[in-house]
């Protein structure tokens, strides 16, 4: 119902193995925004967090059927929300 109230922005440190996450918005002014979108991480896409690396960064995700590593720095281009934990 109250979609706005339910929206909880996620930061990198909240991402855990097994989470499903949706990209709400891509910050187009972010330097890497274009390339990240070209890799399939467009607004509205959901991805699953498969693994967090042993030292906390990067994370491995499953997006559009393939596996990609993302560093913390790159996830800062996105506004994320949790779809399921």
């Amino acid at each position: 119902m109250a979609a706005v109230a339910e929206f909880k922005p996620l930061s990198f440190s909240h991402l855990r193995q097994g989470m499903t996450v949706r990209i709400v918005r891509v910050d187009a002014r972010c330097e890497d925004a274009l390339r990240l979108q070209e890799m399939g991480l467009t607004a509205g896409t959901t991805f699953a967090v498969l693994k967090v690396a042993p030292f906390g960064d990067p994370i491995e995700i499953d997006v559009r059927g393939y596996r990609l590593c993302l560093r913390k720095r790159e996830t800062s281009c996105f506004e994320l929300e949790a779809v399921s934990a």
């Binding site: 187009a28 890497d32 274009l34 559009r64």
Partner: protein
């Protein structure tokens, strides 16, 4: 055109293999061309150019393996080259007659994204669909005719590693060269384009730019250099314009992905439960696990390191022995003319041998890299290691070059090509030779054996050896950071590391990778090294004359003879005097004052100079300079004695444990290896970087040695 002779005489068609990284391009290329490949560089850049050829019924076809790309909007040097090859604007390469797009069936959406961009280039295309077999095992089927219809070109499924359907691919290439098909995809213009075009049409005309609506549209989609310059002087338009462009780009990327998703849905049918874990999932539960994954990683790296460090040993000794025997054999033929004999034996044969000796290490390392990369493990290891190496501007992939460099910097530097980002790759290349390679070990063993172990015991001896190996790594990290911040220009790419599904590496791909790496090294590094070896040989040989030799012999008799005639002693004495009075020896004496602040005399200075082409000769040079002849090794007790008892002219001992450590630090940091410099020049495509590396390493080595000697003077 039907006559094969006629066609090959007039024009050999060129096809280009294009595709995403990891789509299986190289496997397809190897299957098509076999060993008929040429590996070189594209002019002016460090991107590798791989070309090959194969025969079709209608004649020979040339084939270029275009670097993998994620988009036609290039971000890296590799992608820039790829786009230029595709568009036909790469100098020295004509426009390809046919683009063979290698499409990974297991990764349809993202692979179709690039296809959608390629389609707009308007060149004839053909699709080679890879990984269909793996998809089938997972219960997913692809409707090929449907896919052909969606893309508008012929689609040939190939299982490149088993060679299945490669003949069908060849036939399709033949067919498409005769009757080319250009894909026709229709994309709706982004809705944002029309609205923005209207807005900017007005604003531009008010700013005095007379563009009609379609020109405005074109400027929004792909602004010309001229137009961007105009914007720079019109700040009130620049920001809104860039904002509009970002909006358009976002919409068009989303549009292409929407199309790709639609096509995937139409052509893919899944008969198994999508939640079923794939084999890759199962393997990765362990291999990227935070504990088991790291343990496995350490194990693999240990194996790689041991192989280069230890297993290559017998092969290297074999090569060393073979070249030694060859030198002796050749020497006997040339006994009549000592100059020619020395040139051939000590200059050319020793020079070539000194280069070929690196081949076993290079081949072993590249065998491992091909297996690790081909299986998909390399990406996992990079994922695990990224945090440790990423903060100083390197990234997870840098562990292979750095670790290999502890055995030998040459394969290490060559292996830096596992890093797609040019900036991190260059930083890695520039710090890799700081890792203490196996050629430095004899110096450590000699000096630790002479000055540390007798006085401080085995414990400190072991610690010193470890410290010397650790020093390079310790310095490499801040240096990489500084190089990234200050020296290397350009922007770092986002760390987009794909983790491909696991697969068995292909023997053929591994063997070809080893063969071409070895060939490149011998060809490029070889010529420079042999030339330099001859120059250094000449400097240490000339001037030499019978008269001078007789003079040295008389000198020797005056000094020592009355006691007992000693042929070996005489020979060693003459050997030392010859080197002392050679151009190199004179140079060593001249610049000895430069090394005085480090506590080195002219003999150590000359030994250092002799070691610039290859540091491993230093022990033999010291043997000559301390009158023992060149046949000494690091375990030689005679040489240790001589070093311990050597004095300055005023009677002070020449070397103390401090100077020994200073000399070891010098060797640990100094760039004394021509083969490394030649490899850096080739891999960075620039003499400047090789010179830069030589200067910074040698400068640091000098400062380190001086610092240690000055501390000694303060505390003792």
């Amino acid at each position: 055109m039907k006559d094969p002779e006629l066609r090959s005489a007039s024009h050999t068609p060129l096809i280009a293999l294009v595709g995403n990284p990891n789509a299986g391009k190289t496997s397809v290329f190897n299957r098509l061309t076999g060993a008929h490949q040429k590996v070189g560089n594209y002019p002016g850049v460090t991107v590798e150019k791989v070309e090959g050829s194969f025969r079709l019924p209608s004649g020979t076809v040339r084939c270029v393996d275009v670097p993998g790309l994620y988009s036609l909007e290039p971000k890296s040097e590799d992608e820039r080259v790829a786009v230029q090859v595709i568009e036909g604007s790469e100098p020295g390469l004509e426009t390809p007659d046919l683009l063979v797009y290698v499409l990974d069936a297991g990764n349809l959406e993202r692979n179709l994204y690039v296809f959608s961009q390629l389609a707009e280039v308007g060149r004839p295309m053909l699709v080679a669909l890879t990984m269909v077999d793996r998809l089938k095992r997972r219960g997913v089927a692809i409707d090929i005719p449907q896919l052909e219809q969606a893309l508008g070109v012929e689609v040939v499924p190939v299982v490149a590693h088993r060679g299945e359907n490669v003949d069908r691919l060849r036939e399709a290439i033949e067919r498409n060269l005769q009757a080319p098909r250009v894909p026709e995809l229709k994309f709706d213009l982004p809705t944002a384009l029309e609205a923005n075009a209207n807005v900017f049409h007005d604003r531009l005309s008010r700013a005095g730019i007379d563009y009609d609506l379609s020109q405005t549209r074109a400027a929004l989609v792909r602004p010309s250099e001229e137009f961007l310059n105009f914007l720079k002087i019109t700040p009130e338009l620049e920001e809104p314009f860039l904002e509009a462009r970002r909006e358009l780009t976002q919409e068009s990327v989303a549009g292409r992905y929407h199309w790709a998703a639609t096509v995937q849905k139409a052509v893919q049918t899944r008969s198994s439960d999508p939640a079923r874990k794939s084999l890759t999932d199962k393997i990765d539960r362990f291999l990227t696990h935070r504990v088991f994954g790291l343990l496995f990683f350490v194990g693999v790296m240990y194996l790689v390191f041991q192989s280069i460090y230890t297993f290559a040993g017998p092969l290297m000794e074999l090569i060393d022995g073979a070249f030694g025997a060859l030198g002796e054999w050749a020497g006997r033929f040339l006994e009549g003319s000592p100059v020619l004999q020395s040139l051939v034996v000590d200059g050319i044969i020793a020079g070539v041998g000194g280069m070929i000796i690196f081949l076993p290490q290079i081949l072993i390392l590249f065998c491992f890299i091909a297996v690790l990369e081909g299986s998909g493990y390399l990406a996992r290891a990079a994922f695990l290691m990224d945090r440790l190496l990423g903060w100083c501007g390197l990234n997870g992939r840098a562990f292979i070059p750095l670790l290999s460099s502890f055995a030998c910097a040459i394969p290490g530097i060559m292996s830096a090509r596992v890093m797609p980002d040019a900036k991190s790759r260059l930083a890695t290349i520039l710090v890799a030779p700081l890792m203490s390679c196996s050629a430095r070990l004899p110096v450590y063993v000699l000096l630790i054996g002479a000055f540390i172990e007798p006085q401080f015991g085995a414990g400190w001896a072991g610690f010193t050896l470890f410290a010397m190996h650790f020093l390079g790594l310790l310095l490499a990290i801040p240096i990489a950071w500084a190089l990234n911040k200050r020296v290397i220009r350009g922007r770092q790419l986002p760390f987009l590391l794909e983790l491909p599904p696991y697969q068995w590496p292909r023997v053929k791909d591994v063997l070809l990778a080893m063969y071409f790496r070895g060939k490149v090294f011998v060809k490029v590094a070889g010529t420079i090294i042999v030339l330099m070896s001859i120059v250094i040989w000449a400097l240490s040989y000339f001037p030499r004359s019978e008269a001078a030799d007789a003079h040295y012999a008389a000198d020797y008799r005056n000094k020592f003879e009355p006691e007992a005639p000693d042929e070996a002693g005489l020979e060693a004495y003459i050997g030392e005097k010859r080197l002392e009075n050679s151009f190199l020896g004179r140079f060593g004496r001249t610049i000895a004052p430069v090394f005085a602040p480090a506590g080195f005399d002219w003999r150590i200075t000359t030994a250092i100079l002799c070691a610039f082409p290859a540091r491993e000769v230093v022990v033999a040079s010291m043997g000559i300079l301390f009158q023992l002849g060149g046949d000494v090794d690091e375990e030689s007790t005679d040489l240790r004695d001589k070093l311990q008892r050597a004095t300055w002219p005023d009677g002070r001992p020449l070397m103390t444990p401090w100077t020994a450590v200073g000399l070891m630090v010098f060797f640990a940091l100094c760039c004394q290896c021509m083969a490394t410099l030649a490899t850096v020049k080739r891999e960075t495509n620039s003499t400047n970087w090789a010179v830069f590396m030589f200067c910074y390493m040698t400068g640091m080595a000098y400062l380190g040695a001086v610092l240690i000697h000055q501390i000694e003077r303060l505390v003792t």
